[in-house]
Symmetry: C2
Subunit: 211 residues, 2 copies
Amino acid sequence: MKHRGILVVVSGFSGAGKGTLMERLVKSYENYALSVSMTTRPPRPGEQDGREYFFVSKETFERRIAEEAFVEYAQYCGNYYGTPKEYVERQLACGKDVILEIEIQGALRIKEKFPDALLLFVTPPSIRELQRRLTGRGTDSQAVIHDRLLRAGEEAEGIENYDYLVINDDLDECAAKMHRLIQDAHSAPCRNEEFIEEIRAQLDELKKGEE
Amino acid sequence: MKHRGILVVVSGFSGAGKGTLMERLVKSYENYALSVSMTTRPPRPGEQDGREYFFVSKETFERRIAEEAFVEYAQYCGNYYGTPKEYVERQLACGKDVILEIEIQGALRIKEKFPDALLLFVTPPSIRELQRRLTGRGTDSQAVIHDRLLRAGEEAEGIENYDYLVINDDLDECAAKMHRLIQDAHSAPCRNEEFIEEIRAQLDELKKGEE
């Protein structure tokens, strides 16, 4: 039975290690595709079109919005950032599980559009560690710490909307756990509609045959 | 962090191998407790009080109903069958995952009372195998087959209410998968309220300290 892929949304506190975790997941296991976002912000030195981002003009981005070409998009500091729908859809149709790193507001918009999306929330292993990462090591400015605390507060308010809490203690163990959670999600009834319909049709036929 | 156990409800088609699967699960892995039902039906030869069932009188059972001592109960063919609440609660409090085998109506009543219960639906590996098990091998009466088809039809209607579909192909593999699904369920936010509250309190404190 060929399964459609799962759209996996990864959110979590600043410093929880989401990026490293996702890289490890894609390297260690087959069947994953990392979604690359589209942006109107200019590339920084070393960034490559199609790797960090797809870099496009404001005109192109706004045309794409009008064409409903994004799974979700947002504007920060005068630049657009969005998740291209076509790539995501193509990978899902191929049976790949597609991973998006996205903050909580975007995650909730995705859950509305794709009720079958799997939402994972990554946290550091302990409160003490969370505190260390949020308040820095004496090198971060008050403004940076303030911003991190505000965002962490917002993210923490929404944890109940996520399917699983993933505690990032050991990187390899955590990647393995994430892999297991995603693979197990394939066993949910909402991701096996075809199999269930087949069973029901077969049961109807047996009942008819019996009458 | 000490977790409360999970109440696991196992349902599925006749012949899906639920009983064998649950026995294997309890034998192969620690941390499980099988719930023993209470009934007013008399013990059959070989049955032992506290192993197959707790055998009680109708008076005792009805007093227990009045005392709200059951997680759920039902009446079949003039006999009561019920899941004693005290045993379930005690095991959950100890951190044991408690497994109940129960048909779909009971499963839905449990989900209402215990929204955090994990509902697993066991099916044979293929439609052909399902058909073979439901229509028997030429040795079963029409009435028995009819009853099985009716019940299977009812069960199939409710699959979407379950958290996971567990396909029972190889017994050991299936038990391992069930174990994984149950253990993963411990990572859901609804089963980590304490940890989440701690994080939120800590974030509030950090914000206050910063002001």
